[in-house]
């Protein structure tokens, strides 16, 4: 058993990587989906096992092919890695479990096995980067995941994804190239690619200038991949026009992995070796983080497409993570890393809710989702819950991040006070952009319902029911009367059902019914599986808001290991 545990870091990458070609051969599409999901669940289980091991005090280090470390490829897992692995595999698994119907709707059947192959490759790349302790190996996985994500994003029916992905491709390639140049420079000076070894050897190199240049290249290259403001321009369109399931997957984790590498290099490799690197790092990134937070939230305020709105919010949230890190303190770094986890929870749940909306609406622009809460109460319930987590309302995961971020900022004196103001202002902007969605969905005019003949008839009936009903009992009479009449006139009583019980458990029943009555005038709730996963993700926000031991333990341990060289 111990022997097997020892191989977990390798298996983490190998399982999705080797499943990918297998999935390509599977027909029909359902089977490909099942195999992909199984591989992803496996990967998630491995990540959980690794996390438990790390929490128990174990540090994983694995020599590929038994070649000793500086020469062979080393894989390593510590608390920080485990946290990122959880996020990546968790996002992939949730997106796959939920995404079956949404992928079916957006990608034609024969191409689905290829789509799922790309998915697994992206997953393999995204887990490969954090577990690798070898700079060039990281580059290889970076390319694998990037190329696969370009395919995923452009895989949908939306042709606007093509220019978006082209932009992403060009910028992503520039980022990867910068990274490669940096690695090349360090290799020139030290002759090693192993991160731990690199850290030791740089110390011995007399001429620090090439290392400094390398640090610059690597930081900028990874910042580009991580969509750090102002290098974020590829992100909004890529997220917006990608298939919904892909958005759930990538939004929750793709940029996080790049951030992981950024912190890994800057704190683990460069910090101990370059004098004043901590100060340079802070001075360079803190203003960018503040700008990201304010500009990202600010743009989200005026965005009318739900996916773009959330994408810009992601730009701001990446700013939070970076802001925490740029404090270069235990508390700050811990808060930033914690936000990697908590933001993935909130944004994952939000994009899942968007996928639910997209499955039943013409689009996800504000005019498409106006009044939608009347017929999709459960979806909007989950959206509100996840939105509150994004805002940082107590009791949700987002609150825990805000708490630690503000605590960390308070430790920084006057600048800290200003940073608290930035965090708070941006939280308030989040209130505004989340609540614009809520108001539109709950109080807007439902265009679909107005257009649907059945629904409008029921609406008129119920309206007259209210007018004509006399006596104190009107409510009860009205409800039953409306039901009977609409049942006679409209084919699908489930519509009225879900319309009336906007908030209550009554809607559970209507979910099933609506699926059966698909093709009727107005669509109701999202597919059951999609909805169930969305709610699971939303409830996870509550759970980790009330029991935050796991992410907090991982992130504080990660911060300690990253900062062990700082006196």
């Amino acid at each position: 058993m111990i022997e097997f545990n020892h191989h977990l870091p390798a298996l983490q990458v190998v399982v999705p990587l080797l499943s990918a070609p297998l999935v390509m051969l599977l027909r029909p599409a359902g089977l490909a989906w099942a195999a992909t999901t199984a591989a992803s669940v496996c990967a998630f289980a491995i990540a959980v096992a690794l996390t438990l091991g790390v929490l128990a005090g174990h540090e994983y280090s694995y020599q590929m092919g038994n070649w000793p470390a500086p020469y062979g490829i080393e894989l390593g897992v510590d608390a920080f890695t485990a946290l990122v692995l959880l996020v990546v595999t968790g996002a992939s698994t949730l997106a796959l479990l939920a995404g079956r119907t949404s992928v079916d709707a957006e990608i034609e059947q024969p191409r689905q096995p290829l789509f799922y192959t790309a998915w697994l490759l992206a997953l393999a790349g995204l887990v490969g980067m954090p577990v690798s302790a070898d700079a060039f190996n990281i580059f290889v996985f970076m390319e694998i995941s990037s190329l696969a994500s370009y395919i995923l994003i452009s895989g949908g029916a939306d042709r606007r994804a093509l220019p978006a992905v082209f932009k992403y491709l060009v910028m992503g390639t520039i980022g990867a190239t910068c990274y490669l140049i940096g690695i090349g420079l360090i290799y020139l000076m030290t002759g090693t690619l192993n991160l731990a070894d690199m850290e030791l050897r740089i110390h011995e190199v007399a001429d620090k200038r090439p290392t400094l240049v390398a640090a610059g290249f690597i930081t900028v290259g990874l910042a580009l991949k991580a969509a750090v403001f102002p290098l974020h321009v590829w992100l909004p369109n890529a997220y917006t026009y990608a298939p919904n399931a892909v958005t759930v997957f990538l939004a929750a984790c793709a940029t996080k992995v790049a951030l992981y590498l950024l912190l890994r290099f800057d704190f683990f490799v460069f910090q101990p070796n370059l004098d004043g690197h901590a100060v340079q790092f802070a001075y360079f990134l803190m203003p960018l983080a503040v700008l990201a937070i304010l500009v990202g939230s600010g743009v989200a305020l005026f965005e009318r497409n739900l996916k773009r709105l959330l994408a810009y919010s992601s730009v701001a949230q990446i700013g939070y993570i970076l802001l925490g890190a740029s404090l270069v303190s235990l508390a700050g770094l811990g808060a930033g890393i914690l936000h990697i986890f908590n933001h993935a929870l909130a944004k994952g749940a939000l994009f899942l809710a968007v996928a639910c909306l997209a499955s039943r609406c013409a689009g996800v622009r504000f005019e498409d989702i106006a009044g939608v809460a009347q017929r999709m109460p459960w979806t909007m319930g989950a959206f509100v819950l996840a939105g509150l987590s994004l805002i940082g309302v107590p009791g949700t995961a987002g609150f825990i991040s805000k708490w630690y971020l503000i605590s960390a900022a308070l430790g920084e004196g006057v600048i800290g006070g200003l940073l608290v103001a930035v965090i708070v202002v941006s939280s308030l902007m989040a209130v505004v952009y989340i609540w614009r969605v809520v108001e539109t969905a709950y109080f807007g005019m439902d265009s679909a319902a107005a257009a649907g003949p059945g629904e409008s008839a029921a609406g008129v009936e119920s309206a007259t029911g209210v007018e004509s009903a006399t006596g104190v009992e009107s409510a009860a009479e009205f409800e039953s009367a409306a039901k009977v009449e609409s049942a006679a006139k409209v084919e699908s009583p489930a519509k009225v059902e879900s319309n009336e019980n906007t908030n209550s458990s009554g809607a559970i029943k209507s979910i099933g019914k609506v699926d059966g009555a698909a093709g009727a005038a107005v669509p109701g709730e999202a597919p059951a599986m999609l909805l169930a996963v969305t709610w699971a993700a939303a409830l996870a926000n509550l759970y980790f808001g009330l029991q935050s031991y796991l992410p907090v333990a991982l992130s504080s341990s990660a911060a300690e290991s990253l900062l062990r060289y700082v006196p």
């Binding site: 430790g411 308030l428 505004v432 709950y442 409510a475 009860a476 458990s505 009330l546």
Partner: protein, 489 residues
């Protein structure tokens, strides 16, 4: 049932009730109303059942969850919280009886949703009342804000949604923008946010920072409606009247002032704050709010808006009394929470009864209405007298203690404010009372109406009686408050 179970039950019962309401609504509206009433009654039994133990000096506590080490969700019963919980749970019964009459008489839509969120709001109020530390308090504070949003936006038309936006906007902006940093700051300097008799901040923070932190707290608790954070309260008047009555005259606004009192007594500590010169501004801010809100109330033409501005002024009485930082004034502050609750809920009940029976909302329409609705207007008169502070009403008792506290501290600003505001209160309430009883109806109403439905009249009669009862039998209330003062000074 042990005290711990009772605390937990106080939180869970309304939530179970909310679920029950949702389920019962599918069977019949009567059953749904029955569930509401049963839940309210059960809650009151549970909460009031805690009283004897508290009087005996016990302080039952309960830890619900530990989010991370050092930050936990914990509940603890102490006299002030007990007072608030007993008040809210007791009035919920009366308010439910009233709601049934109002919602049915007014033929409101989406009644099930209304009752569900009402129950959730009550659960949040219980959580605030029994919160054992700042985090817990903040958690339930925000739940209360969010769960009342659907109640405020109940009507769903453009105007209502706009007002509900102001409501949510002000409350969330203040709580996230000011209160949250204040809470984190407190934990940062004191290492804890537990409510401890005598305070936790003494010696941990000094100089102008005390005043700054106090400011973040006082303005961060937007629910207390200290100017300029008061705009949400008039906006909330678009809600159905039972919401205005119980939530925006009792539960929500009292949660605000309760939070401020609790922060001053249990976090700063009265002695510590009294010795800190940078905290003196609070008294002036409260005094300004009292006078300014009363002046604004003078100019209102809409009855519910007038009551809202009157509430803003009355809330600042509590804050000002607390800011006097003397034992008698603290007792006055706590008594005023009760007195204002009884008086203002009566006034709102009357306003709602008038709306249901006569569809009248403006002051000018109230001429001669006393003859058509004698019970309602009698109750209204009693409520108005309590607001002014005329015996034999509860308002007199609290003003007495606040004045006594002000004299104890030789605080002439507080005394002057109370006198001026009493004059202003009389100036905007007495004309209404006079008009209702002694003017003639300018035009006969479209529909010849009498009193509102029986359940509404019953409710407002009971609260009017309570207003007078508080004057006559205030022993138990004062006993509870003495415990509060003894524990802290």
């Amino acid at each position: 049932m042990s005290a711990q179970h009772a605390i937990l039950a106080a939180l869970v019962l309304p939530l179970v009730g909310a679920l029950g309401i949702a389920l019962a609504a599918r069977i019949s509206a009567n059953l749904r109303e029955a569930v509401t009433l049963a839940t309210a009654a059960a809650l009151a039994v549970v909460v009031w059942g805690l009283l004897p133990e508290l009087m005996a000096g016990e302080r039952p506590a309960l830890r619900l969850a530990e989010i991370v080490p050092g930050i936990e969700i914990a509940l603890r019963v102490e006299p002030l919280g007990m007072l608030f919980a007993a008040l809210a749970s007791g009035l919920w019964i009366i308010n439910s009886i009233y709601s049934i009459g109002y919602m049915r008489g007014n033929r409101e839509a989406k009644q099930t949703r209304f009752y569900i969120f009402f129950a959730i709001a009550i659960a949040a109020a219980m959580g605030i009342a029994f919160a054992g530390n700042l985090i817990t308090l903040f958690l339930f504070y925000e739940i209360l804000t969010l769960s009342t949003y659907p109640l405020v936006s109940h009507k769903g038309d453009a105007n209502t949604v706009r007002s509900a936006r102001v409501y949510l906007g002000v409350l969330l902006t203040t709580s996230i923008g000011l209160l949250l940093p204040a809470i984190v700051w407190t934990y940062y300097v004191a290492g804890t946010g537990d409510f401890v008799a005598g305070g936790i901040l003494a010696g941990k923070i000094e100089g102008p920072a005390i005043g700054l932190l106090l400011g973040l707290f006082v303005f961060g608790v937007g629910k207390a409606a200290i100017m300029p954070m008061h705009r949400w309260l008039p906006a909330a008047m678009v809600a159905p009247t039972p919401v205005s009555a119980l939530l925006h005259a009792v539960a929500v606004v009292k949660a605000g002032v309760f939070t401020i009192v609790k922060i001053i007594i249990y976090l700063f500590g009265v002695d510590f704050l009294f010795a800190a010169p940078s905290s003196g501004w609070l008294l002036y801010a409260a005094a300004f709010t009292i006078i300014a809100a009363s002046v604004v109330a003078l100019r209102q033409q809409n009855l519910k808006r007038l009551l809202a501005y009157s509430t803003i002024a009355q809330l600042s009485y509590v804050v000002m009394a607390t800011a006097i930082l003397k034992p008698l004034a603290e007792i006055g502050a706590a008594t005023h929470m009760v007195a204002h609750a009884f008086g203002k809920i009566t006034l709102f009940f009357a306003a709602g009864a008038i709306y249901v029976a006569a569809k009248k909302t403006e002051l000018q329409q109230l001429r001669g209405i006393g003859r058509r609705m004698p019970w309602t207007m009698t109750a209204f008169t009693i409520g108005a007298l309590s607001m002014i502070g005329v015996p034999p009403t509860g308002g007199f008792v609290s003003k007495w203690y606040i004045l006594a506290g002000a004299f104890q501290a030789d605080n002439y600003i507080a005394i002057g404010t109370i006198i001026a505001s009493t004059v202003l209160n009389a100036a905007y309430f007495l004309p209404i009372v006079y008009m209702a009883w002694f003017s003639r109806e300018s035009t006969p109403p479209q529909r010849d109406h009498g009193e509102a439905p029986f359940s509404m009249v019953l409710a407002l009669t009971v609260t009017a009686a309570l207003t007078i009862a508080l004057f006559l039998f205030n022993g138990p209330v004062l006993e509870l408050e003495r415990q509060l003062v003894e524990g802290t000074l």
